[in-house]
């Protein structure tokens, strides 16, 4: 296919569609980070003392740490003192009570993104806790959830209203000393989401949060904590888009999940932050620590992610399978194009008996992008009869991209079984020929083949997300013929 390279290039040059900036005045701290900044953030958010102490402890530890450099990523040096660590939309001062009180400009932003908040919430039955920069501006369906005893609110609100839960669970999965970016997040996080599902409750709807980075030069430090008490179930959706911008923006989120006995948490992500332009200028740096703790027996945590955005992705959603018979799952599609770099994967740490985990990772690399799967499967001494199956496939489109696989398997128990398989290939010319011969355009054929390649993961996504994810994928890769 001699002409395809050109064609490919023209399609790959496609601009980011969701690039625009909403003009909202922000109450922003000057750039820089020291203990005073942390005290200021804590004071602005009227936090209890224990949280301030916790932040300061994290900050002091962060100072002793070095940026991790083991990932196969090429990262321009980050000046942590040039980042402003707090920014809140001004209208937030009084706090909107309902959608009507929300700044219309914010609502407009969601409109542009194709997420009509009220409509979507009403039609799809999704409660949206929309995070605009660092402060939540609208929460819906609260009453319905409250009836079930479910707490679903911005993190800062949970700090005020349920400090005992925060104190008990915050940092219990990802401690402040965990890694460089988690420590930074612990010190300066501004807001995020908090979910508490009481014992035996099955959450009646998908919980969803839309993150959106807005004010220029503001690092976004989200903190999400989800607790599922014994016998409960929750499905949580997280999706993101961001305005176009030239400077790199740092995003270091921490997500902690706690699943007690017989509980199940399903966590789905569609990530489409600004990936930088075709020359690799700009784009979000996405350094995320996500970890789920299957604390009780028979608990289950599943991660599903579709990663199409960000200039750099550094993300390893993990499961600690502590309870006997607990289950961890990881389903991932990572698409990189232009100069994007993604070093992503998972960790399955099997500690309990009969624990099971499944890893399915699909990496698609186009342009000059680098796509890396890095995963750990650890079978502890007591993980008798534990099982793991890992499958990671990579698809290469174009002759200047890379796809890499670094699986780590550590097995300390003889009855544990670990299987790993991986393949790397490109879209076969015969597959394309077959489709074209039947009158399907080259573009549709590629999209069809890629969708087939990713099907296993799409199936794991909740309905609402599956559609969005497939559109995103088509958008990111239109016309990329290998």
């Amino acid at each position: 296919m001699p002409s395809s390279t050109e064609e490919l290039q023209s399609h790959l040059r496609k601009d980011y569609e969701h690039g625009f900036t909403t003009d909202v005045e922000s109450d922003t701290l000057p750039p820089g980070l020291d203990e005073d900044v942390i005290r200021h953030i804590s004071r602005m958010k009227h936090e209890p003392d224990f949280l301030l102490e916790w932040r300061l402890e994290a900050y002091r530890h962060w100072l002793t740490q070095r940026e991790p450099n083991w990932a196969k990523l090429n990262i321009a040096p980050i000046d942590y003192q040039a980042i402003s660590y707090y920014s809140a939309p001004k209208t937030q001062a009084d706090g909107p009570k309902s959608l009507d009180e929300v700044d219309p400009k914010l609502l407009e932003t969601y409109e542009k993104l194709g997420i009509p908040l009220e409509e979507r919430a009403a039609l799809a039955g999704v409660a949206v806790d929309a995070v605009f920069d660092s402060v939540s501006v609208a929460t819906t369906f609260k009453d319905k959830l409250a009836k079930e005893g479910i707490i679903f609110c911005p993190f800062s609100e949970a700090v005020q209203e349920h400090p005992e839960l925060i104190k008990r669970y915050l940092g219990s999965v990802v401690p402040t000393t965990d890694n460089y970016f988690a420590s930074l997040n612990s010190a300066v996080f501004t807001d995020g989401s908090f979910v508490y599902i009481p014992k035996g409750v099955r959450c009646p709807m998908e919980l969803s949060t839309y993150f959106r980075i807005n004010a220029a030069n503001t690092g976004q430090f989200e903190r999400t904590l989800i607790i599922a008490e014994a016998g409960s179930y929750v499905s949580y959706l997280e999706g993101c888009t961001a305005p176009q911008r030239d400077e790199n923006q740092l995003h270091a989120a921490v997500v902690e999940l706690v699943a007690m006995e017989d509980a199940e948490i399903k966590y789905s992500t569609v990530q489409n932050w600004y990936p930088g332009d075709e020359n690799g200028v700009g784009g979000i740096y996405n350094f995320v620590t996500k970890r789920g703790d299957c604390r009780g027996d028979n608990s289950k945590i599943s991660w599903t992610q579709v990663e199409t955005g960000s200039a750099i992705t550094w993300k390893y959603p993990s499961c600690l399978l502590r309870g006997d018979n607990s289950i961890g799952e990881f389903h991932s599609i990572a698409v990189t194009n232009h100069h994007q770099q993604a070093d992503t994967g998972t960790k399955m740490v099997h500690l309990g008996k009969n624990t099971r985990s499944t890893i399915v990772s699909k990496g698609i690399s186009a342009g000059q992008a680098q796509n890396i799967y890095r995963g750990l499967v650890h079978m502890g001494k007591n993980a008798s009869s534990a099982r793991n199956h890992t499958r990671c496939d990579s698809l290469l489109m174009g002759d200047r991209c890379g796809a890499h696989t670094y699986p780590y398997m550590e097995v300390k128990n003889p009855s544990a079984r670990v299987e790993h398989e991986a393949t790397t290939s490109r879209i076969g010319e015969d597959q394309l020929f077959y489709c074209q011969q039947r009158g399907i355009s080259e573009e549709d054929a590629v999209s069809m083949i890629v969708n087939g390649f990713c099907k296993e993961v799409f199936r794991e996504l909740p309905m609402e997300f599956a559609v969005e994810a497939q559109n995103l994928l088509a958008l990111s890769l239109e016309g990329s013929v290998g």
Binding site: S394, D399, E410, V418
Partner: protein
């Protein structure tokens, strides 16, 4: 940490003091190569677990003791080496005691014309210029402490050169013996093998201990295969359970050359086998096979690195581990595909069998791919013997341990069957049966 630095300094001091007595000490480029390597070693020190390549292997106990580098004159009774010979195999045989050539024990038959086979000290003393391709064709990796240590000493080993279109008439058996009774010794053989266009050879390296003293073997072999050359390489490591065995084998392959490697690792308290293959020419092919057994507190670590640098090359890897007692097996295989290396075909697999509750397997098969028109795959498994299979055998009246032994042998035999040199394969199988019989009642069956 200071103790480790002191030990590195001690090695460097000894290297410096014996440097003038080494063969070809007066040849400037050799002298420079040695002193650069000594500086590299001083700078690098022993690897630590913080280095990714040594993540699962701790050389702490190795670096706490000093192994003498000075050559000693030890005479060995020819009878003592008989157990290590392949009785059914007609071969050229070079024997080394603590990496020093022992002519009295060696037999080199009449060599076909175009074949140069001698011990490295002879080459260094007489025709050192022949060795330049091994030290200039590629910058020696300065990030490898053990290779640097070996190069810094560069004294003896094997030199094999085949002119274009020649064939080494018989397999070459290189027998490395460690003796440590008088003094704990470090053997550092260097084997340099160059096969001209279209030539063929079979080389078998085997490593054994003559007594039960702890020794440290730091072996380094380099192979250059010119176009269409073929090398079959066998390696048996059977040193005693107190010894340390660190070895690297580096292969450079030109177009359409063929390299086949068979490794069987049985001995040593700490064994590390590194094998790196550069497929520098179109249509080059390599096939790497390895079987490692660990029991007691043994630690065995196999690293492979295959670099596809040109189009149309082919690589196959299969490594299997059997781990018993408190043993720990590590496999780290890397496949790299250069952007130019379209139409590459790479396969890699690693399977581990855990026979006891305290054994551990760590495996890390890696793919690093920069070209799109490739077919690369890898697979890895860790598990124990299949219950159904055990049940099947037991239902036919086999005692449990015999059934287990038989299944374990079946797991391993696959790799022995891949060896084209039947006398070696048969002898190794006998050895394997003997080892499995110690823990399982296999003997009664066979």
């Amino acid at each position: 940490m200071n103790a480790a630095a002191d030990m590195v300094a001690r090695y460097c001091a000894e290297l410096a003091s014996i440097a003038p007595t080494l063969p070809a000490a007066e040849v400037p480029w050799i002298q420079q190569t040695r002193s650069k390597a000594r500086d590299d070693f001083a700078r690098l020190g022993f690897p630590t677990r913080l280095q990714e390549a040594w993540h699962y292997t701790n050389v702490g106990t190795l670096q706490r003791r000093f192994f003498s580098l000075a050559s000693t004159d030890i005479s060995i009774d020819p009878k003592a080496i008989e157990p290590f010979l392949y009785t059914d195999l007609d071969c050229h045989q070079l024997v080394f005691v603590n990496s020093i050539y022992a002519p009295a024990l060696s037999t080199i038959g009449t060599l076909p014309s175009g074949v140069t086979l001698e011990n490295l000290a002879t080459t260094l003393a007489q025709t050192p210029q022949q060795l330049e391709p091994f030290f200039h064709s590629r910058e020696q990796p300065a990030d490898h402490a053990f290779n640097a240590l070996n190069t810094a000493l560069l004294h003896d080993g094997t030199y094999l050169h085949l002119a274009p279109n020649t064939q080494l008439d018989k397999p070459l058996h290189l027998l490395f013996l460690s003796v440590g009774k008088a003094e704990e010794h470090c053997a550092q053989p260097r084997n340099l093998i160059q096969l001209g266009t279209g030539s063929q050879a079979v080389v078998l390296e085997s490593y054994h201990s003559l007594d039960d003293a702890a020794c440290f073997t730091n072996a380094c072999s380099q192979v250059i295969l010119e176009a269409e050359a073929t090398l079959h390489h066998y390696k048996l490591q059977e040193e005693n359970q107190l010894s340390y065995h660190i070895a690297s084998l580096q292969v450079q392959q030109a177009q359409r050359s063929h390299f086949e490697s068979h490794l069987l690792s049985l001995g040593a308290t700490l064994a590390r086998h590194e094998l790196s293959v550069d497929l520098n020419g179109e249509g080059a092919h390599c096939s790497l096979n390895g079987l490692y057994l660990g029991g007691g507190r043994q630690h065995v670590d196999c690293h492979t690195e295959v670099r596809h640098m040109q189009a149309g090359a082919d690589s196959r890897q299969i490594y299997k581990g059997i781990l018993d007692g408190r043993a720990r097996g590590v496999f780290n295989g890397q496949v790299y595909v250069h952007p130019q290396a379209q139409k590459s075909n790479a396969e890699q697999s690693n399977h581990n069998l855990l026979l006891s509750n305290d054994a551990e397997a760590d495996t890390k098969p890696e793919l690093e791919i920069y070209a799109d028109d490739v077919r690369c795959s890898h697979g890895a498994t860790v598990g124990q013997l299949d219950d159904d299979m055990l049940f099947y055998l037991r239902s036919r009246g086999l005692p449990e341990d015999a059934a287990r032994g038989l299944l374990t042998l079946g797991f391993a035999r696959d790799l022995l069957e891949r060896m084209p040199l039947k006398p070696v394969a048969e002898q190794l199988e006998k050895k394997l049966i003997e080892i499995l019989s110690q823990s399982h009642g296999l003997k009664s069956l066979i």
